[in-house]
Symmetry: C2
Subunit: 102 residues, 2 copies
């Protein structure tokens, strides 16, 4: 019955901080935690919380490794995350297109 | 400190159902409740709740009148609502532009 895809939008992606995180990851093969921290302007705690939610949903992968003696956290969009983000973008773009059509 | 306007986005507008309502009202001088009901695909209760929130924030005006014997509820974006929606659109458009730039 519901013809408005915006009402079915993926709220995991729609949340502003997560939208920003996913947008950055979508532009990269992978990014590390410190890069995302700088790129988004989120606090460490906030960024961690959002990353964990996205990992739990299977939208991103979180890998830890050492570069010399320094631990590094690498984030990457999964195939599922990429598909979901593309669907989200499609819906949002249609919304703006319809705005100027009508 | 926060350079990402998306993190400061107006959540009153960002919520999908309200975004849809405001988008429809932004295209009209004013619209009645039944029109919005059909245009959005929301339930009556849901639509009412969202309209009340938007009225409380001063983003829309709700006026009731009679057309013959039938009551009619007329909704209209206020000047504040229009300004807020334009600011919201600006931020979102920049987000998509940056996506393809970077």
């Amino acid at each position: 019955m519901n013809e408005n895809p915006i009402l079915e939008i993926d709220k995991l992606i729609h949340e502003p901080a997560r939208l920003l995180i996913i947008r950055h990851l979508s532009l990269l093969d992978s990014g590390d935690f410190l890069y995302l921290l700088a790129a988004t302007g989120l606090s460490k705690g906030n960024l961690s919380t959002h990353l964990q939610k996205l990992e739990k949903a299977g939208y991103i992968e979180i890998k830890k490794r050492f570069v010399g003696k320094k631990p590094q956290t690498i984030l990457k969009l999964t195939e599922l995350g990429r598909i979901k983000y593309e669907a989200y973008q499609e819906t949002m773009k249609k919304l703006w297109q319809n705005s100027s059509d009508t």
